[in-house]
């Protein structure tokens, strides 16, 4: 089983590394970049919603704060390193504020508080024109050149995004397998019991929010450099709902779920939309089908169906003779 997973991982990695060479055009390489940073965003939300049981409907607000921080600093004339570090710091600070305010509740209460916070950020993005540019947003020019390696070309940006994606996935994998990851999942399943066992449930959730905020900020920085533009549209409720749908459709609380979910949403939005005018309808229909057929999400649902099919194929155990 372990070797099968390693083989699948190697094939996946090989496909990603060679992707610019077998994709039919640069447009599709750009789509792949979008999938990768959207997957990082979804992984960030998955830490909270999937592993922590805390569903946020305001994550686009966190995303927006980091994205606007990048844009504002670059527009103000600071260099890329300062802009990136400021964006990470702003994203973490915003995550801390989000956590302190929203962790006063769980369940519906948590959803409503995060929704309200997200709407506040959207309102600020829309109205605080001197900082955000309002509806016009902030336009950027240029991308960083880490170690002299320019990220201007489509392929270079894709590879930089891929490296950050792999590092982010590794971070999440290490976290969920760690004692703290186990503690977070424990607080999702039995918070009262965890408290009685000596865990500081609030603090565990707070650090999960911070980790989620870090991944969200990373995704936001990549988004800004990819789009070269940030506007209130990236911060609105639809953006929060979209990333939540990526997590739920792929499979919350799984490592691959958010990646599969991000792939589904971006492919329908950016590729299928070129062929089908009413792509929103198609996306909605796909989500409805997932909820009905695989309520646990595409990844765990596929695993379940695969196991079911495998069990049916396997020879039935020999019948034992009945002693009468």
């Amino acid at each position: 089983m372990k070797s099968q997973r390693l083989i699948a991982l190697a094939i996946g990695l090989l496909a990603l590394v060679t992707l610019p060479h077998w994709m039919p055009g640069v447009y599709y390489v750009n789509v792949a970049s979008q999938i990768l940073f959207s997957a990082i965003f979804a992984m960030g939300l998955n830490v909270l919603a999937g592993y922590g049981g805390l569903v946020s409907l305001g994550h686009a607000g966190l995303f927006g704060i980091a994205a606007y921080a990048t844009g504002y600093m670059l527009q103000a004339g600071y260099g890329h390193p300062v802009a990136i570090l400021t964006a990470l710091a702003a994203g973490l600070a915003a995550a801390a504020v989000y956590a302190v305010l929203s962790l006063r509740a769980t369940g519906i209460g948590f959803i409503m508080i995060t929704l309200a916070l997200g709407e506040i950020v959207w309102g600020l993005a829309y109205r605080w024109i001197s900082i955000t540019g309002g509806d016009n947003g902030i336009n950027l020019h240029g991308r960083p050149e880490p170690f002299g390696f320019s990220l201007v070309s489509v392929n270079a940006f894709y590879y930089a995004t891929l490296v950050i994606f792999i590092l982010s996935l590794a971070m999440v994998t290490v976290f969920v397998r760690s004692p703290m990851g186990a503690a977070l999942m424990g607080t999702r399943d039995q918070p009262r019991r965890m408290n009685a066992l000596g865990f500081h449930v609030w603090a565990i959730r707070f650090w999960a929010c911070m980790f989620s905020g870090l991944l969200t900020a990373i995704a936001a920085i990549l988004f800004v450099y990819y789009q070269q533009f940030i506007s209130p549209q990236a911060v609105d409720l639809t953006a929060s709902a979209e990333v939540l749908l990526m997590v739920i459709s792929g499979g919350a609380g799984t490592l691959l779920g958010p990646i599969v979910g991000a792939t589904l949403v971006i492919v329908v939005k950016s590729v299928v939309s070129g062929f089908i005018e009413r792509w929103n309808f198609l996306l909605g229909a796909i989500f409805v089908a997932i909820v009905i057929l695989m309520p646990e999400g595409l990844v765990p649902g596929s695993v379940r169906l695969w196991r079911l099919a495998w069990r049916k194929r396997a020879p039935a155990p020999a019948k034992t003779e009945r002693v009468t």
């Binding site: 397998r177 703290m180 990851g181 408290n195 009685a196 066992l197």
Partner: protein, 245 residues
């Protein structure tokens, strides 16, 4: 020094008094049974002792330390462990993972976000030892969903014992068990060393009386009878409110 001292403990939910001036003094190593009819306030008393509920007045001392205002999450670190009347485990995990979580709760490693939990060797070894104690080590890797009710009861007890408590609170450990399972759990409880003080709520008098040294009878949140087995069983008030005539 007493293992557990409860002094004038009061708790009311709105106009309903659920704990009224309860006093309890449990000596180290003692086996104390708390009995009372449904609604007497037994589980509420446990919830107050463990800090899940905040008392309106009164105090609680654990091994001579006042813990009345100590957060409930800190109390296991001071030597208190409990089990629940309604089994409260982690259903998506294996038995050994459940017990490992109990151990992790008291370990500084619970803040570690970098190392694989499976590489916490001492944690796994201690979890296995706790499961050995309750006779479940042979099914340690089994998912909890594939275990019987009686086995889950024993996992609850293993989780509490794994924390090496000085005071162990057992909330109806025999509830819902078959006769055989009840006997197994009874043997298990009798084997717990004397350095662990046990306070137990139980309705099943056959097994509970055999276990208890002193008994406290609660009724409408008040202690109405307290004494050794014979004193409590022979007391007319016990017969009136609990055992029946």
């Amino acid at each position: 020094m007493s293992a557990l001292t409860v002094t004038n403990l009061c708790k009311a939910f709105g106009g309903l008094r659920v704990t009224a001036n309860v006093n309890l003094n449990v000596e180290p190593g003692e086996r104390r049974l708390i009995i009372g009819p449904n609604g007497a306030g037994k589980t509420t008393l446990f919830n107050l002792i463990t800090g899940e509920l905040t008392p309106d007045s009164g105090s609680i001392q654990l091994l001579g330390t006042d813990i009345t205002k100590t957060p409930s999450r800190r109390r296991p670190h001071l030597g208190m462990a409990r089990t629940y009347q309604i089994i409260t485990l982690f259903p998506n995990d294996t038995i050994i993972h459940n017990v490992s979580l109990a151990l992790l709760g008291l370990s500084p490693a619970r803040w570690n976000p970098l190392t694989d939990i499976k590489h916490q060797g001492h944690l796994i070894d201690d979890a296995r030892a706790a499961l050995e104690q309750v006779g479940l080590s042979h099914i340690a890797e089994r998912p909890l969903t594939q275990t019987s009710y009686g086995e889950r009861r024993r996992v609850e007890i293993a989780m509490a014992l794994a924390q090496k408590p000085k005071v162990l609170l057992l909330d109806e450990p025999f509830a819902g068990l078959s006769i055989d399972e009840r006997r197994d759990v009874q043997q298990l409880l009798l084997a717990i060393p004397r350095d662990v003080t046990i306070v137990m709520i139980e309705h099943n008098m056959d097994v509970a009386l055999e276990f208890a040294e002193r008994i406290t009878l609660l009724h409408f949140g008040e202690v109405i009878v307290e004494g050794n087995r014979a004193e409590v069983v022979d007391n007319p008030r016990t017969r009136e409110v609990y055992l029946g005539h």
